[in-house]
């Protein structure tokens, strides 16, 4: 005798489930997390106080904006039932080309005799990167043009990187989940090779730590004038474009419509004369294109240089390429829900970090539990609740005893 777990889809899904389920999950997940953290010693007042504060903290603006872009990027693929797990790699390649353009093309580093340094200090467009070695960065391009090219190039290379997996899936039937995932690690490795090799900078830090020279101040993306946030105007614009663009595409273009049908009924699409293999490839390409732009934003808005990844679990993407999978999933692949779900996830991430800090300053419990652990507890329970609710509302589950084969 053997047991089988049978899951079948319900005939009628829950009404308003799209709004009710994520919100309910948030509430239940937070309460469960609180109870658990309480058991290990986190005072409830501190917990709820911090949670409330975190969801309106200016610091969460940046993860919110970036997760919105990435959520939209992944949704484009997921809606066509093409599973892009490779946003990480697409972002990394975006960073690499943005760095190349920012540090080698739109500006470049030169070594000058130390005696000439004062001349450069006062020269517009020039920035002394390293006074001991005499390394100066000189801007060659108009900053707006440079920014634009960085973003477009990052988008293009993200698209190409994703298209490889897309084509493998479409034409050779190689599972894209595995290939996109593997390509993330190839991307991390490539970054390390490039940053410590051909792209290594001239400055003392670059020589020492194996990284590129820093991006010239003039080419850095300006921050939004809101105190407490590090989000850049460029990122906000990218998020708006990604959100509106994907929404428009899905609602008003034949490409978007067919992408949705690709996810639900590829056979009908084939009989309509649509080349589904092309669509599979394009879905991943477009997904990678949007994700790639985040690479430029991270480089020119946050890190300003490309450095070797010492620990593979904490790449400069901050794992947002993976976190965005949760965003897309929590939004139930509805583009309109992407910002909401990005907001929830960003708020939870922020809560974890703030809670850790507050435990130290307010309750004298510093070092008791790490911010990441709190964040994962929160996100974990919210998503767990979400999955349970979704499965309960959308599917019927039962066990069957089957006969021996």
């Amino acid at each position: 005798m053997k047991m089988k777990l049978i899951v079948t889809r319900r005939v009628k899904p829950l009404r308003y489930g799209g709004v009710v389920i994520p919100l309910l999950s948030l509430i239940i997940g937070v309460v469960i997390s609180q109870l658990i953290l309480w058991a290990v010693g986190v005072p409830p007042e501190l917990f709820y106080g911090t949670m409330a504060g975190s969801f309106i903290a200016p610091e969460m603006l940046r993860p919110f904006v970036l997760l919105t872009i990435l959520g939209a990027a992944l949704l484009v693929a997921f809606i066509g039932a093409v599973w892009n797990i490779g946003a990480e790699g697409q972002i990394i390649w975006g960073m690499i080309v943005a760095a190349y353009i920012g540090v080698f093309v739109a500006a470049h580093s030169i070594k000058v005799p130390l005696s000439e340094l004062p001349k450069y200090e006062s020269m517009p467009g020039a920035q002394v990167l390293d006074a001991t070695y005499g390394v100066v960065s000189v801007v060659l391009w108009n900053p707006v043009l440079a920014g634009l090219v960085m973003i477009l190039a990052a988008a293009a290379v993200g698209a190409v990187w994703a298209a490889i997996s897309g084509a493998l899936r479409a034409y050779l039937e190689i599972d894209e989940v595995a290939s996109t995932l593997i390509m993330n690690y190839i991307a991390y490795y490539s970054l390390n090779q490039l940053a410590t090799g051909p792209m290594r900078g001239l400055s003392v830090q670059a020589a020492q730590f194996g990284r590129t020279d820093a991006l010239n101040d003039a080419l850095r993306f300006p921050r939004l004038p809101i105190p407490g946030t590090t989000v850049t105007t460029v990122e906000v614009i990218l998020a708006v474009i990604a959100f509106v663009g994907v929404w428009f595409m899905l609602k008003y273009t034949s490409f978007g419509l067919r992408l949705k049908i690709l996810g639900s009924n590829p056979n009908a699409l084939k009989a309509a004369g649509v080349d589904t293999r092309k669509y599979i490839t394009l879905a991943l390409t477009l997904s990678g294109l949007i994700a790639g732009t985040v690479g430029a934003a991270l480089f020119a808005g946050d890190y300003f240089f490309l450095g070797k990844i010492d620990n593979i679990v904490s790449p400069p993407t901050q794992n947002m390429g993976y976190t965005a999978i949760l965003v897309a999933w929590l939004a139930m692949l509805d583009i309109r829900a992407i910002p909401i779900s990005a907001y929830i996830i960003a708020g939870l991430m922020q809560s974890g970090a703030t809670l850790q800090a507050n435990l130290g300053t307010m309750a004298g419990l510093s070092g008791m539990i790490s911010g990441a652990a709190i964040t994962y507890t929160l996100i974990g329970f919210v998503l767990l609740t979400f999955s349970v609710l979704r499965v309960l509302t959308e599917y019927r589950i039962r066990f069957v005893r089957g006969g021996p084969k």
């Binding site: 273009t253 639900s264 056979n267 006969g403 084969k405």
Partner: protein
């Protein structure tokens, strides 16, 4: 049951059909947004009978049986089982009361074996049976019906016919008193339908009852004991199947419009010399790796309807699929000439010709014809020949509305998901769309299956008109010989992967074709 009983009950009316009512519906009302699907419907089913439920597309047949099966709850009215009032709010309850349903789409679970599916059903309703007994039963019934089903095979490996038999067996094992078949065998070729009718005969011979929904009146006359006719949500009447006539039932179903029904040959179209489809020595593999099409050569001219007759499974499907470019031939060529330059479909595939005005009505319309999760407008817009780039929904809406009006598609709106439409209306969405996009050529497989007679004849007339007036070339295969005879200018008979003979419509004789089909 005695031996003698089995024999008589298989082929003739059941002498035991009593007047004892097993299932009765009284004054059932069901409204959907924008339509009254059922308007005070009353009818009953007796023990030991097959009751046919007939009505044109959208008459309310499916809604009625879905109510009896607990899928919908009626707005008004009562249901009684064996004289006792019941409230059926879910299929679970229906089955406990002995009412079961088999629909067009098999519900059994693909990843389980046949026996597991049945055991699953039993355990769900708190019934227990030995797996060996279940398997024995399946083997026995499989032998009796002549439809081979191995109880240990996984369901996804079964053909549609086999799946539908499993559905029926499942109902029987679950102790059904009344089995309702909602167009459950519509998609089957007639030989296989007969096996199912014999099965049902045996079932009612043993004291069960069946409700049979079909749109083929002759089948209802042959297989059923009584016929209840629905029209626009109302019961027109119930008649004894053996005492009524085709004409009377048609009148009940369609009223005035029954006069539109004709099986006369439609006026011939006037083909030009221009060859639109040129198939040469085509060899195509079937689903199991054997040759399904063996060296077919044919030509379809502009303005000509080329009909292929044949018993299902003789290669028509594979031929049609490779002409449209969905199946790559092993040998030979398919050339389609839409403009001046012929397109080699066997090389370039379906995309090119579909985008420049070739219509296609596929086999398995629910799988290949429409996207069930999308609404009517989206099902139009998905075609590359209708939209490319930005979708102007205003324009699509107008198109959809004109098709709805033109083909009398019963739907609350053009934004209704097609899975909510009745089977016939869904088919109308597909057929009307494909006729609209056919500029030069229409390729079709069973274009009017699932349509009621009046609608089917309307569609055939439209096809013929387009051939005549717009010089449309039509390549059509149909399992319905009446249909082939009615519309075709040329009739090819296909048997075992070969075209055994081509007739000009005027010279075609039904008997001769039938002989060639089964020879």
């Amino acid at each position: 049951m005695s031996e003698a009983q089995t024999k008589t009950s298989v082929f003739t009316q059941n002498p035991n059909s009593s007047n004892e009512v097993v299932l009765e519906a009284k004054n059932i009302v069901k409204r959907f947004p924008g339509v009254v699907a059922l308007d005070h419907v009353s009818f009953n089913v007796r023990k030991g009978e097959i009751l046919a439920l007939l009505g044109e597309n959208g008459a309310g047949k499916s809604t009625l049986v879905k109510i009896l099966y607990g899928v919908y709850v009626p707005d008004e009215g009562e249901i009684a089982v064996e004289g006792r009032r019941v409230f059926i709010t879910s299929p679970l309850e229906a089955i406990k009361l002995g009412i079961s349903m088999v629909s067009q789409v098999p519900q059994i679970i693909g990843s389980l074996t046949v026996a597991e599916n049945i055991i699953l059903g039993l355990s769900k309703y708190g019934m227990i049976s030995k797996i060996s007994r279940v398997k024995e039963f399946i083997r026995e019934e499989s032998k009796r019906t002549g439809i081979e089903v191995d109880p240990d095979i996984e369901v996804w490996k079964l053909s549609y016919t086999q799946k539908q038999l499993v559905e029926l067996l499942r109902s029987v094992i679950l102790g059904a008193k009344v089995i309702m078949l909602d167009e459950a065998i519509t998609f089957l070729p007639i030989q296989e339908k007969r096996r199912f009718y014999e099965f049902l005969r045996r079932f009612v011979g043993q004291g069960g009852s069946a409700i049979l929904i079909t749109h083929k009146i002759p089948e209802a006359l042959e297989a059923a004991d009584r016929i209840t006719v629905l029209r626009r949500g109302k019961v027109v009447g119930t008649v004894d199947a053996k005492k009524t006539t085709l004409d009377q039932v048609r009148k009940m179903m369609f009223g005035e419009r029954s006069s539109e029904i004709t099986y006369e040959r439609l006026p011939p179209s006037k083909p030009t010399e221009e060859v639109v489809v040129d198939v040469e020595d085509l060899w195509v593999l079937g689903a199991h790796g054997e040759y399904a099409v063996k060296g077919v050569t044919l030509e379809v001219r502009a303005g000509e309807v080329y009909g292929i007759a044949g018993v299902a499974g003789n290669g028509q499907l594979e031929l049609i699929q490779s002409v449209i470019g969905l199946r790559k031939p092993v040998k030979g060529s398919v050339r389609v000439k839409l403009n001046s330059k012929p397109i080699d479909v066997s090389k370039v595939g379906i995309g090119k010709i579909r985008s420049i005005g070739v219509g296609y009505i596929p086999d398995e319309p629910l799988k290949f014809g429409v996207s069930m999760e999308n609404n009517i407008e989206e099902n139009l817009a998905m075609l590359p020949s209708i939209t490319n780039g930005i979708i102007r929904w205003g324009r699509i809406k107008k198109l959809a509305e004109s098709l709805i009006k033109d083909f009398d598609i019963k739907t609350p709106s053009s934004k209704t998901k097609v899975k909510l439409l009745s089977g016939g209306n869904l088919m109308k969405v597909l057929v009307s769309r494909e006729l609209m996009v056919s500029k030069k050529l229409l390729v079709a497989y069973n274009p009017t299956r699932a349509l009621d007679e009046v609608t089917a004849i309307m569609v055939r007339k439209r096809i013929k008109e387009k051939a005549l007036n717009e010089k449309l070339a039509v390549l059509m295969a149909s399992e319905d010989l009446d249909e082939v005879l009615q519309v075709s200018d040329k009739i090819a008979v296909m048997n075992s992967g070969k075209i055994v003979r081509v007739f000009n419509a005027q010279e075609a004789k039904r008997e001769e074709i039938e002989k060639l089909m089964v020879m």
